[in-house]
């Protein structure tokens, strides 16, 4: 997911930076006091997640967690992922500073998209909620791999070829991410429901207490 420096052309880099800047500004605007605390927490998780490598067959993948970030933060996923990527670039040499904008869009835009699409379903009990949270993790990575392909297309590669390569290459991450997101959501639901409820208008916790 992290595009290295020197791969993309200037127009793509600039477009990415502009969209990322807009997203970060809007995300910060929407972030309230409580949201800042969860943003710091989730950003830390995102920052560390890329270091956790899982070996699936010959492929080694690492967690992205953008679905989870979107689920918890909504639009604040933009500043969160931007911060995480900035520090990954500076401290671990993942991606690069010039590609920061593009990488932010590639990972944060799907995060916001899945949160808008699926957050109403997440709080449902039972199978529905579990499937929705799995879908959240799965689809976020899926959309990211498509955006990654779209960014790389301007380097002169064929979109169909690169999109297939990107989706197939990231398929293990999607599955792992889906299960991981479902697990974390079910854990948060029991232990720290406020983190998830800040997204949903109706508080289902109230019903349980009565």
């Amino acid at each position: 997911m992290h595009i290295s420096e020197g791969v993309l052309s200037a127009p793509v880099l600039i477009a990415g930076a502009v969209v990322a800047a807009g997203g970060v500004a809007y995300g910060l605007k929407r972030m309230d006091g409580e949201g800042t605390v969860s943003a710091a927490l989730v950003t830390s998780a995102f920052f560390v997640a890329s270091l956790i490598h899982l070996n699936i067959g010959p492929a080694s993948v690492h967690l992205v967690l953008n679905g989870l970030v979107g689920l918890v933060l909504g639009w604040a996923a933009f500043p969160a992922i931007f911060t995480g990527l900035l520090l990954q670039a500076l401290l671990f040499q993942y991606g690069g500073l010039t590609t920061l904008g593009v990488n932010t869009v590639v990972m944060a835009a799907p995060a916001v998209a899945v949160s808008l699409m699926l957050s109403p379903l997440i709080t449902r009990k039972g199978r529905m909620g579990a499937v929705a949270s799995f879908g959240c993790g799965f689809l976020a990575v899926f959309f990211s791999s498509l955006l990654l392909a779209a960014a790389l297309v301007f380097t002169g590669e064929n979109f169909k070829v690169i999109a297939w390569a990107s989706v197939i290459g990231n398929a293990p991450v999607m599955v792992v991410e889906g299960f991981f997101t479902a697990f974390v959501v079910s854990f948060l639901r029991r232990v720290y429901p406020e983190l998830l409820l800040c997204l949903t208008p109706e508080p289902p916790q109230m019903e349980e207490r009565i």
């Binding site: 006091g33 800042t36 560390v48 492929a59 671990f92 290459g169």
Partner: protein, 188 residues
């Protein structure tokens, strides 16, 4: 039964998938007496298999193209003596480069130019010191340089705990600063 078959198929699919995924990529290169040795790895010291190696000279012309083997290694004779830029490309936006200094012909032809003041280390031109000829000394120096350069590079590429902890500290700091600025604005 059908779902089991589907899972098996998916598993096979995943097993065949290219390992060139979202990772940091590194290239390390050395000139071992006219032979350029390159080693390309992803984060966690996993080799870049079948990655493309491109070599550019100072003018930016492509002078060599090669491919890494199963161990991420690619060796080739130095195409020209000037400074070179070596680039590894694993596809999917994973690229990195390494600058190789020019192999100075003055240094290559007569050894004592290296360290004229350090008589203790550099042996006299003709006499053998400790049973070693000047050529042996030169070779030994090369070997030591190679080993040191390699281990220094590896140490730098490792993800260290203090970086992780420091990064989390920065995150908390950034968002804390943001919350503080916002609370001040709201208070005014």
């Amino acid at each position: 039964m059908k779902s089991l078959r589907f899972i098996l198929l998916l598993g096979l699919f995943i097993a065949l998938a290219s390992p060139a995924l979202a990772h940091r990529i590194n290239i390390f290169a050395l000139d071992e007496g006219g032979e350029v040795y390159t080693e390309s790895t992803f984060a966690g010291k996993r080799p870049v298999k079948k990655g493309v190696i491109r070599v550019f000279n100072v003018e930016g012309t492509l002078v060599y193209t090669g491919q890494t083997d199963e161990k991420g290694i690619c060796t080739f004779p130095r195409p020209e003596p000037g400074a070179l830029t070596l680039e590894v490309d694993a596809g999917m936006g994973h690229k990195n480069s390494w600058a190789l200094e020019s192999s100075d012909p003055a240094v290559a032809s007569n050894e004592p130019v290296l360290m004229p003041n350090d008589s203790a280390v550099v042996p006299p031109k003709t006499a053998s010191v400790g049973g070693l000829s000047p050529a042996d000394w030169k070779r030994m120096e090369q070997v030591v340089d190679t080993a040191v350069a390699k281990s220094l590079h590896q140490a730098r590429e490792e993800t260290r705990l203090q970086d992780i902890v420091g990064g989390i500290g920065y995150i908390v700091g950034f968002f804390g600063l943001f919350a503080w600025i916002r609370s001040r604005r709201e208070a005014v």
